[in-house]
Symmetry: C2
Subunit: 274 residues, 2 copies
């Protein structure tokens, strides 16, 4: 049985992503993204599942930092999970009884308009995770939690309403990481990170030409400051194609020759939802 590490606790969207990735796997919760990666590197887990990007909140920088700096793991799969927040109560609690709403502050933020319209007088209480919020409201009267249906099922709580997030475009992209990336399928994607001197106009254009001249479609480009040095930026690029495809392999070799830092994060089957 595959042992699959994920960012716990159980009942989070991360656990749901891990379970969708491999329904028969043994799911192992860890407290941080770095601990998930370390578990895979040490062999305590076979693979790890990490959130890498949310459509509303942007990149998950802790995951990127682990992939860029703190591990030698490769991305071997991507999956996109719609983030559906639910209003969760202790079984039997009615809407009109609710006097407090508990969740991770980010989730409360993502449901702000819903809460203002439906529970304008309820006190908002912060929790360390959505799953923890569900545990909290089971211990009190008249509280509601915001979180995934999975957390309600896990803790025996009741879902009063589904889809209470303000934006219908709330999705998180997760990646599975392991010692090796995936073999070509004919419909793949490759993620790469590299640094180029940022104060020379044209250096980035030069690099991007390596892709466009070979008709390689980029699906994401992002720059972020390097942790170590001011003025040095790291570029993260996702492209269509497998790193073993000739045009992709040539482009990557050319980019590597121009970069002060270069790391292929992995090739993996392209998700239709990404």
């Amino acid at each position: 049985m595959t042992r699959l590490a994920y960012l716990g606790p159980p009942g989070t969207f991360s656990e749901e992503a891990a379970s969708r990735y491999d329904a028969s796997a043994e799911l192992l919760p860890f407290a941080t993204e770095a601990a998930v990666a370390a578990a895979v590197e040490s062999g305590a887990a076979d693979e790890g599942v990490l959130a890498i990007e949310n459509s509303l909140e942007g990149s998950v920088t802790r995951t990127l930092d682990v992939l860029l700096h703190d591990s030698s793991l490769s991305i071997r799969h991507e999956l996109v999970l719609p983030i559906e927040h639910c209003l969760i109560v202790r079984p039997g609690t009615k809407r009109e009884q609710i006097t407090s709403v508990h969740s991770h502050p980010q989730s409360l933020n993502q449901c702000r308009k819903y809460l203002e319209a439906n529970f304008p007088n309820a006190r908002q209480e912060a929790s360390l995770s959505n799953a923890a919020a569900v545990e909290e409201i089971l211990a009190i009267e008249d509280g509601a939690a915001i979180g995934p249906a999975r957390a309600a099922a896990l803790h025996g709580a009741e879902v009063l309403e589904r889809g209470v997030q303000d934006s219908p475009h709330n999705k998180t992209r997760f990646v599975a990481v392991a010692a090796e990336d995936a073999a070509p399928t004919g419909r793949d994607k490759t993620s790469v990170a590299f640094a180029v001197a940022h104060d020379q106009p044209g250096t980035l254009v030069d690099v991007l030409h390596e892709f466009s001249d070979r008709r390689i479609n980029l699906t994401k480009i992002e720059s972020r400051p390097s942790r170590e040095e001011l003025g040095i930026y790291i570029f993260l690029i996702d492209m269509e194609g497998h790193r073993s495809d000739a045009p992709v392999a040539e482009a990557l070799a050319a980019v590597q020759s121009k970069a002060s830092f270069f790391r292929i994060l992995g090739s993996y089957p392209r998700s239709d939802d990404a």
Copy 2:
């Protein structure tokens, strides 16, 4: 007196940024980034201060969404604030008495290694904001909060230790927004957002050539999915120079002619810390 809107409550890093931007301003706290922008647009405030990017957490997407979609405001200033977290207690509480640590989950995360090393047995408690955490620990015995020194001063709490964040590279870039951007100073920066068809290799290279051919240095480039349509990406680019400088003005006009969405977010004096 200038009325300056910011993301409250008082005692947050946002308030500190607002106060550093204009020490004599009247500071007006609002509950959301959108409310800060709405206050400026309605004339209830003269300018607003918003966090736009953190060196560890990445872009503040709620601020970008407001600037891109929900307001016609322009960026007229940038300032970079080092994020120094402090260990804050009720006056007289000793380190060895501390049994719980309270803060926004993001701040607890940013101090995870410090807390593991120094308070391995303390219970971690989530708060809606760092400032709220300070209020909470004043009401109980033996609790500590993680937050800015400003929150401790505001609420009459005691700073036991400064600089307890794990990373020394924790900085947030704030922008001041108003109805108009800033006049040229000779050392400026311009922020622009635009969308180009993302499935044509070369379109982005084409656009970037408009900058590199004119020797315009880009200081940031980021792509993010559009909220409305899958497959459409919005690019956010910061460049050196004022939008009224001839090369910048020409490049922007050329980019606009190729883009399906185009908005100049503003020109403003360049910070040495950015």
